[in-house]
Structures are given as C-alpha cells and as structure tokens.
C-alpha cells in the first residue's frame, strides 16, 4: 500500500490519498493522470490492466486501486 501511495503522490501530488474517496467522481484524477498511473502500477505490481478495469469505482480511492491490484494478481 505504501508503494501505491508513493506512486499516486508522484503522479498527482497534493491529495490526501489515504482518506480521499472521490478521486474520479470529484475530478481529482482525470483520464490523463489515470493513463500515467497505469504503466506505473503494471510495472510495480506485475499486473495487466485492461479497458475492462477502467471504471470509476476501481480508481476512486487508494483502497479501491489496491483492491483492484490484489484482484488482478489473484487472476
């Protein structure tokens, strides 16, 4: 999780990722930030993110992203 928070802060600093739950719905991360985030996540956690994962609920909070990564790693 710490590694994820580090990546998120590197992409778009100045957001309290530990508490924020509306990263997408609140417009804090736009599609360009998401596109920068994906290769970082894929490299760091050895997962492949497909268009099927591109739903707001998967990216609205650090916890949601973490859950998605765990789910992809299980697959």
């Amino acid at each position: 999780m710490e590694q994820l928070l580090e990546i998120l802060n590197g992409i778009n600093p100045g957001i309290d990722y530990e508490t924020e739950t509306k990263l997408i719905d609140g417009g804090l991360l736009d599609s360009f930030s998401i596109l920068s985030l994906i290769p970082e996540l894929e490299d760091a956690f050895d997962v492949e993110i497909t268009p099927g994962e591109m739903i707001p609920t998967n990216f609205n909070s650090a916890d949601a992203i973490w859950n998605m990564i765990n789910h992809l790693q299980e697959d």
Binding site: P51, G52, M54
Partner: protein
C-alpha cells in the same frame, strides 16, 4: 412523428402511458416494447427489420460470450496448463466479440457510410483519369441507428469484460435497444444504467408524473421558442451562404449554436421527462456547457453520453493496447512528464475525435470538426503549465471574474467557429463562410433591417431573446446545484399551479408552431 409533434404529445405518448398504467406490472415492459416498435415503424417502416436483427444478434453474441467463459472455467478446473488454456479461450472470446461488433458496425457502415466511401473512391479514381468503377448506392437509414448501434456495442464490450452479466431475457435487451423516447436522439445509455428499471414496469407515481411533465414542458420551451424560431434564419444563411458575409455569417454561426443546443438539449429534456414518468433514470446529456472554462470541459458538459462512450470504448482501449502503453512510456521517458503525457494521449485522442466527427455524418466537414477539436484540446493540454506560469507571473487570479469572462469569451469563439463548420453543407462551404467573415465585414447590417429579411421578424427575435435569457438564468441556478423542480414542489398549490399554467401559456404563445410555421425536424435525429 417526433417528440414535439402533436401526434406524439397528445395521442401516442398519453395512450402509451394509459396502456402502461392499466396493465399488470409483469406486462408493462411489453407495452413499452410494443410502443417502441410502433414508434420505430411509424418513422422507418420496414427498416424495423434492421433493429430486430441487431437485437437478436447482440442477444445471441452476449450469451455466446458467457457460454465461452463457462467453458473456460470448466477447462481451468481440470487442465494442468492453465496459462495456455486461458490464452486459447481469451482468443476465442475476442473473436466472438469482434464478430458481434463487426456485424453491428458493418450494418451502420453499409447503410450510413457506404455512399461516402464510394463517392470518395470514385473521386480519387477520376483524379488519376480512371473511370469510376463503383456505383453510388443510397440506402435508406433506419431512425436512431447511430444511437442504438453504440448502445449495442457498449453492451457487448461490457459483457466481454464482465462488467455486466449477459441478459438471457431477450425482451429486456430489446427494450434497452429500442426504448422509444431515446430512439431518435439518445442519450446513449448503458445497459447497467437503464435496462433493469425499464423492464421492471414501475407504478407511475404522482411525483414522477409531475416532475416528468415539467421536464417535457422545459424541453418544449427550448425547442419551440428558441430552436424552431431561429430555424428560418439559420436555414437562409447556411443554404445560400454566398449571399452573406461578415457579421451576418457570425450571427448565423452564433444563432446556429444556440439553435442546436436548444434543439438537442430540449429533445433530451423530453426524453428524460418521459423516462421520469415511467420511473426510469435516463442519464443526463448536458450540464450547462457554455459555462465551461476550456474546450475539454465543454465536451464533458455537451453530449456527455457520447463523450463518455468514446472515452470508455475508444480512448481507453487504444491507450491500453501494448502499442499505446509503450508509446506512453517512451514519450514520458524521452520528453518528460508533461510533454510525454500530451504526446502519448495524442493517438487515442485522434481516435476519439475521428470517431466523433465521423459518427455525426458523412461529410469531410464533420471530420474537420473532429480534427479541429483534437487540435484545440491538444494545444490546451500542451500550454496548460505555461498558462499557469504566465498568469502567476502577471498576478492574475484565475478564479476571479475578469479571467472567467476571458475564458468564456475564448471558449464561445472556439465553439462558434466549430459549429460554423459543423453546420456548413460541405467543408469548402465552411471555409468560404469563414473567410467571408473577414472580407465583407459591415456593422450596418445590424441596423439597416437586413436581419429581418432572413425569415424572422422582430417578434421572433424578442421571443428568442426571452428564451435565451431564461435559459441563462436556469443555467446559473443549476450551476449552483439548486433543483428548480424541488423548489417548485415546496410551494403552495396555488403558486405551483399558477407557475406551471404560466409556463404552459408562455410556450403556447411564444412557441413557433401551427399556421405559418413549417414543422422543424429534430437536428440530431438526422445523425
């Protein structure tokens, strides 16, 4: 029959509501489906066969994808080489998906675009002094094909990625694709948003009925008072642009933009209102677009469902291909975070804006329209840090009113130029009209009565002005997050009914309809 026609408003829709109301809940979806097919048939006749064919194919393909997934699970439970099995089934499922999408898009391409391709191919052949080999064929295009095709594709892709379960109920899927209030102009809803509530057959509630009727009335206000009153002027200028220049062309582009907004968003209001009456939440398609600060934001507020469809089914799939990811990574490594990000998104954005332009119709001016916005959005993204640096250096507060006015004026100019090309009958006409703004500029047309020779009277201008001011006030209220209908519902009955009767009377008095007015088609139904 269109949503603003007396036949629809005073006969078809009330009859459907009555039949829906008196039917047992389990049959209500059938009432809606039958009404949808009657509505479709009344406009496109036997072309209903295309919709039926698409429905059957999409239904079957969805189940086929699910069956393939089940087979994969069975195989994975027994096989040793799970990786190889997964790859085989992934390939099979991909083929099934492309079969479904290919069939659906193939029909759309054949009916809507084949003539465009053939005529352009023949033009190229003529350019090289070769004979035209392909005959131009004009197909009659079924109503709403551009809208229900996108819905069908989204359904298949969502099933493929297991965002939704495939529907084994053909009736529910058929209603999702054919629901009559969304058939002509969308919005492009997703299966997960509307299918279940459409099928449920909810009881009509008093609150839903009043809210829905108010929304329909608001749609009629925009359509009849603004869009249809402006139509003769817009038609005059864009049908014979050679007769006009300078400020008249600017007025044409500005008023066409307002006409298009009033026409399209008015139709969407009528659609959402019809859905509200039936207890179905149809997604919003507009959110005060002219209050946007940038072109990107404008497109997040204008035709929202097309924008989100393109983001989900064009932008992300292109970005997340191996090539797209590699391009992004290399660009960021070579050109740094910001420039690399802009460059890496240029490819998926090209796909999005090409699709946007092409979706609107078969003309190079539509493709130009898409490329125009691609260039502007890339430029906005590219210069964003420089703008921030510059405004900080000049101590300009970007949240203060003067800067907001500057942003609004800049955005409006961008939008008006875009709509000039969008409304032009061809790309060359668009360029001619744009050039003529600068060659024949003459302020006197504002005072010498020339504008009153364009098919609209001074009374029309006053009615439109009243409509636009109302639209602006309502927009400001909505922008502040206030629901006008919620406020009205708290008023005492005499005030509530007085206000609504007044609104009806305003539409009846100021609306352009009846004797002396030709019925004006819904603009987006033509796309």
């Amino acid at each position: 029959m269109t949503y603003n026609s007396p036949l629809y408003l005073f006969a078809f829709f009330p009859l459907v509501l009555a039949a829906y109301y008196i039917s047992p809940q389990r049959h209500r979806s059938r009432v809606l489906l039958l009404a949808s097919y009657i509505f479709f048939y009344s406009i496109s006749g036997k072309l209903l066969i295309y919709l039926l064919l698409s429905t059957l194919l999409i239904h079957h393909t969805g189940l086929w994808l699910d069956h393939c997934r089940s087979e994969e699970k069975k195989e994975l439970a027994v096989t040793q080489d799970k990786k190889a099995s997964k790859a085989v089934f992934a390939k099979k499922r991909r083929h099934i998906l492309w079969f479904g999408i290919g069939f659906q898009l193939g029909i759309l391409l054949l009916l809507k675009y084949s003539n465009f391709f053939v005529s352009n191919l023949n033009d190229v052949m003529n350019l090289f002094s070769l004979k035209s080999i392909l005959p131009a064929t004009h197909f009659v295009v079924p109503i709403g094909i551009s809208f229900y095709t996108l819905q069908a594709v989204s359904y298949l892709v969502d099933v493929y990625y297991e965002k939704i379960k495939p529907d084994d109920n053909l009736e529910r899927l058929a209603l999702y694709l054919a629901f009559f209030p969304t058939l002509m102009e969308g919005p492009i809803s997703r299966y997960s948003q509307v299918a279940e509530s459409l099928y449920e057959g909810k009881q009509i509630q008093y609150k839903n009925l009043t809210y829905g009727l108010q929304r329909i009335l608001w749609g009629l206000f925009k359509k009849l008072i603004i869009a249809d009153r402006l139509n003769p002027l817009v038609e005059s200028i864009f049908n014979t642009p050679g007769n006009y220049s300078g400020i008249t062309i600017i007025i044409g582009a500005v008023l066409y933009t307002f006409q298009l907004y009033a026409d399209f968003s008015g139709c969407i209001d009528m659609t959402i209102g019809a859905g509200e009456i039936l207890g179905v939440t149809i997604p919003e398609n507009f959110r005060q677009p002219f209050f946007a600060k940038t072109a990107s934001e404008f497109w997040r507020r204008w035709h929202i469902t097309l924008g989100t469809w393109l983001k989900d089914y064009v932008f992300y799939p292109i970005s997340l291909t191996k090539f797209g990811k590699k391009l992004g990574k290399k660009s960021r490594e070579k050109f740094g975070k910001h420039l690399g990000q802009v460059l890496s998104t240029s490819l998926p954005l090209f796909g999005v804006w090409m699709a946007n332009g092409f979706w609107h119709g078969t003309g190079w001016h539509y493709i130009f329209f898409g490329m125009y916005y691609l260039a502007i959005i890339l430029f906005e993204n590219l210069t964003e840090p420089a703008v921030v640096t510059l405004t900080n250096a000049l101590h300009i507060n970007r949240e203060r009113i003067p800067y907001r006015i500057f942003q609004t004026v800049k955005l409006l100019i961008i939008v008006f130029i875009g709509e000039l090309f969008f409304a032009a009958r061809s790309l060359s006409q668009g360029f001619q009209m744009f050039a003529s703004i600068f060659t024949g500029f003459n302020w006197s047309v504002l005072t010498d009565g020339s504008l009153l020779k364009l098919g609209v009277s001074i009374q029309d201008f006053f009615a439109v002005f009243f409509g636009l001011v109302t639209l602006l006030i309502v927009g400001v209220i909505h922008e502040r997050g206030i629901s006008i209908r919620d406020r009205i519902s708290t008023w005492r009955m005499p005030a509530r009914f007085g206000f609504l009767y007044a609104a009806i009377i305003v539409v009846l008095i100021l609306g352009a309809y009846g004797e002396g007015y030709l019925p004006v088609k819904l603009i987006y139904a033509g796309f």
